[in-house]
């Protein structure tokens, strides 16, 4: 069967700068794929192209074999792609469950209904989603008073509302306490296992990446430089050079001293 997500030669240039350079990869069903790389490697640009926030300069994005290149975020969402944000984006004037209900209303095409009470619609479904991320008991709290980790979990529930086949998570654990990070990734891994969702995520926390990702891709200066299992990536000299430095700075110092 075809991959859930496939990119061919994805490229983005800003003026003279090539932020993402000829990136091609595939994501299989129920796979948890990590995209890592140092700051400025092009992870976010890559993500924004997948989600439709940015149009690629060249290349193609295929969702289950069908091209989605250049579609708007809304259209891509409708095709079964969910996403979570690096900095949470939530409806701060609503309760937790209403945040999820809103996504469900949109999913069921009920946004332009004027007569029914929104807070009574799809409540069961929303509760089930919240239960899955362990937020059911907080369903009726005002989401503005939640802890950041809880907001992230709520956002995950929102992203799962339309039963996506693919979930894109942009630094899912950014800004969280270490214990929360592990819990969130365990939850994500469990959802991948239970529901067969494919997940592509970017991450800076290597513990999170190595503990849960099925496969890891490394991006540097816009290009994919390595791909493989946790052990392979850990042992890859090129990756070590990118993350720990290739000795250019200290090497140069030594030469200068000598």
């Amino acid at each position: 069967m075809s991959a859930v997500l496939e990119t061919c030669g994805l490229t983005k240039t800003f003026g003279g700068l090539t932020a993402v350079d000829d990136v091609s990869f595939t994501l299989a069903k129920a796979e948890l794929l990590a995209l890592i790389g140092p700051n400025g490697a092009g992870k976010s640009t890559c993500f924004n192209m997948l989600m439709g926030q940015l149009a690629p300069s060249a290349g193609e994005v295929l969702l289950a074999g069908a091209p989605i290149t250049g579609l708007s975020p809304r259209q891509i969402w409708r095709k079964g792609v969910g996403r979570t944000f690096q900095i949470t984006a939530t409806y701060s004037s609503m309760t937790v469950i209403e945040n999820v209900q809103m996504a469900l209303l949109s999913h069921h095409g009920e946004v332009f209904r004027f007569l029914t009470f929104a807070h009574r619609m799809h409540r069961e479904e929303a509760l089930a989603l919240l239960d899955m991320v362990g937020m059911a008991e907080q369903a009726d709290r005002h989401c503005a008073v939640l802890a950041y980790g809880d907001l992230k979990r709520m956002e995950l529930a929102i992203a799962l509302a339309h039963e996506p086949q693919l979930l894109l998570m942009d630094e899912p654990t950014a800004g969280m306490a270490p214990r929360e990070r592990i819990a969130l990734m365990e939850l994500t891994a469990k959802i991948v296992a239970d529901r067969g969702v494919s997940v592509l995520f970017t991450e800076h926390d290597m513990d999170v990446v190595f503990a849960h990702a099925h496969r890891i891709m490394v991006l540097n200066r816009g290009a994919l430089i390595a791909e493989g299992s946790a052990a392979e990536i850990r042992g890859n000299p090129l990756v070590q050079e990118v993350y720990l430095g290739g000795g250019t700075v200290f090497g140069a110092e030594e030469t200068a001293h000598a």
């Binding site: 989600m51 975020p73 809304r74 969402w77 409708r78 996403r83 944000f85 984006a89 939530t90 409806y91 701060s92 004037s93 609503m94 309760t95 209403e98 209900q101 809103m102 996504a103 209303l105 949109s106 999913h107 009920e110 946004v111 332009f112 209904r113 004027f114 007569l115 029914t116 009470f117 929104a118 807070h119 619609m121 009726d140 709290r141 005002h142 503005a144 008073v145 956002e155 929102i158 509302a161 339309h162």
Partner: protein, 619 residues
């Protein structure tokens, strides 16, 4: 050709005072992000104080000294206003300061009336500059030539101040990133005060300088307000060269308009503004605003719930009392209450946009007055029965709102607000100047309801039923999926778009819906009064609604209605006194400073503190 040159010279001369006032406004906005509606009042004060100084100081030296002194005095007044009124509310939600500046307008109006009296003052001619110069055979007043030469120098001086001095560096830095400037150890409070004083001084100078051309009167604060906003917005908010360019553009255009299309001078100005903003949304020389998700500064709004049983009972009891008013109340009470419920519907329709949608429309009167005019025009020109005219009012207003919203929603924040204002003013100027159809300033009279509704009591019930019905519909929609989507688009457009909600479409429909409800209020209004005049479309009317929504409480569902009822009631009481504006202005400033959550918000807070009202979250 000669005539052409003379026209352009006159235009340039007119631009000078406009530029001075507008660049003061632009400066203030650029640094403090305050949309200072009181700027026209400062201009008026400049003219009046300048007049007084000129009476005292003799000769040419006295004349020019008086102008400078007027600038200085108004600068000091501006400083006072900033310190007393604006400083306490910098932390209040965005655009809340605007309401405070409106309070200042009212206060200044009455103080001016007290000090200088109601008569228009004829400006003294500039000594030694009484005659005309002949340029290519065309007479140009000498004073115009002086102004024309003077303005570039003032502009240059300002440019030097902004571009070449340390103060200027701070001001420019603050226009770009206030927080950073604060973090670098600059005392922001004094920087703001200083800029506000400078901007005010410029307004004062502008007011005093135009004395020989226009004199001083009590209406000049609002007369200048619209043009200076047009200039600032066309030029790009915060840009001084932009303001200069736009002032010249508008003034020259105006002079030619007077010659060739005398009925359309006002319309022309707003058409130019709309066209410029559609092509360059941030003005000719303005920079793009990076709009973050900061529509809701301050505490986030609490989740809304449909009214509980006891609240519903209270509302029903209140309605029962209102329904019984004709039994025990006077005719006057019925007329007053008719006014109040209509105004409440108007305010509630704006609140729907402002509160739920976070869409600050400065031109909501367009739909209220528009609805009223549509009904009146139908009756007058098409001879249509009242019922048909009444149905067309909301329909037409809703369609107009859809069209205007479609254009305006491409912008956000202050620029959105300004564009809505421009459209409202465009409609106002059309009605004002297209005398043959709309009756112009004389309005349209003799628009009475159908026979079955003709009578104070029956119309009272009609207005009550439709207004309360409209308010209930607005409230109900707030709880519907659509209302939720509108709040979602306000809270986080990013998330809403990422979950398949077409935020612009949602906002557009909301704009049309709110416009339609405003149209219902307008239709009710015209048949209750039997007439309609252009002032129902004026900025002042839009501000009325904005103020009651802000003061009632933007972040509470009942804010619009409560504010509307409270202030319309208070206004009726106050207008019996001579200086009611002063009291009203002070009251507005007081509420803004003491209760920035608005009436409903503050009551709710007090109630939950006392334990009467249970909040979902007792933290």
């Amino acid at each position: 050709m000669e005539f052409f040159v003379a026209q352009i010279l006159t235009g340039l001369a007119n631009a000078s005072s406009l530029f001075l006032v507008a660049c003061g406004l632009s400066l203030i906005f650029g640094v403090t992000r305050i949309v200072n509606f009181a700027h026209g009042s400062l201009y008026m004060l400049g003219a009046y104080t300048g007049y007084t100084f000129m009476q005292v100081l003799p000769g040419a030296v006295g004349f020019w000294t008086a102008i400078l002194l007027a600038g200085l005095t108004v600068g000091l007044i501006g400083m006072l206003v900033e310190m007393l009124v604006l400083r306490p509310v910098y932390r209040a939600p965005e655009l809340f300061q605007l309401v405070a500046t409106f309070g200042v307008i009212l206060v200044v109006q009455d103080l001016t009336l007290m000090i200088w009296g109601p008569e228009d003052l004829l400006g003294p001619r500039a000594p030694g500059l009484r005659g005309v110069y002949r340029i290519m055979g065309e007479p140009i007043p000498k004073y115009d030539i002086v102004l024309l030469i003077l303005t570039p120098f003032v502009a240059l001086a300002l440019w030097y101040l902004i571009a070449r001095t340390r103060v200027g560096v701070l001001v420019r830095a603050a226009t770009q990133d206030r927080e950073m400037v604060g973090a670098l150890g600059v005392n922001q409070a004094w920087l703001f005060t200083g800029v506000f004083a400078l901007g005010s001084a410029l307004a004062g100078l502008g007011g005093a300088l135009q004395l020989p051309k226009g004199g001083a009167d009590l209406l000049m604060d609002f007369t200048i307000l619209a043009p200076i906003f047009v200039v600032v917005v066309i030029g790009g908010m915060g840009s001084l060269p932009g303001a200069y360019l736009a002032a010249i553009l508008i003034s020259v255009l105006n002079v030619f308009g007077v010659t060739y299309l005398p009925q359309s001078t006002l319309v022309l100005m707003y058409v130019v503004m709309v066209v410029v903003l559609m092509i360059r949304p941030y003005g000719l020389l303005g920079r793009e605003e990076v709009a973050g998700e900061h529509g809701q500064v301050g505490e986030p709004e609490t989740p809304i719930k449909p009214a509980s049983g006891p609240v519903r009972l209270m509302v029903i009891a209140g309605l029962a009392v209102l329904a019984l008013v004709p039994v025990f109340g006077s005719t006057f009470a019925q007329v007053l209450l008719t006014d109040i419920v209509i105004f409440c519907l108007f305010a509630a329709s704006l609140h729907f946009l402002l509160g739920l949608g976070g869409l600050v429309s400065f031109g909501h009167a367009a739909y209220y007055g528009g609805g009223a005019y549509i009904a009146a025009l139908m009756v007058k020109h098409a001879g249509s029965p009242m019922e048909a005219a009444f149905l067309l009012a909301p329909l037409g207003a809703g369609l107009a709102a859809l069209a205007i919203g479609w254009v305006c929603l491409r912008l956000t924040g202050v620029y959105f607000a300004m564009l809505t204002l421009a459209f409202a003013q465009l409609i106002w100027s059309l009605v004002f100047q297209w005398g043959e159809v709309t009756g112009g300033d004389d309005g349209i009279v003799n628009i009475w309801p159908a026979d079955w509704l003709n009578g104070t009591t029956i119309y009272y019930y009609f207005a009550l039923a439709l207004s309360v019905g409209g308010i209930i519909v607005l409230r109900h929609v707030a709880h519907s999926p659509f209302g939720y989507a509108l709040r979602a688009a306000r809270d986080s457009a990013r998330q809403a778009e990422a979950t398949g909600i077409d935020t612009r479409r949602v906002q557009l429909v909301a704009f049309g819906f709110a416009g339609m409800m405003g149209g219902v209020a307008g239709g009710l209004f015209v048949f209750s009064k039997g007439s309609v005049f252009p002032n129902e479309l004026e900025i002042v009317r839009s501000f009325d609604a904005l103020i009651v929504v802000f003061l009632g409480g933007v972040k509470t569902l009942a804010g619009g209605v409560a504010g509307g009822a409270f202030f319309k009631g208070i206004e009726d009481l106050l207008t019996r006194f001579e200086y009611w504006r002063l009291v009203m202005g002070l009251l507005i400033i007081f509420v803004v400073i003491v209760a920035p959550e608005g009436i409903v918000g503050s009551l709710r807070k007090a109630a939950s503190r006392l334990g009467i009202l249970k909040t979902a979250e007792q933290t």
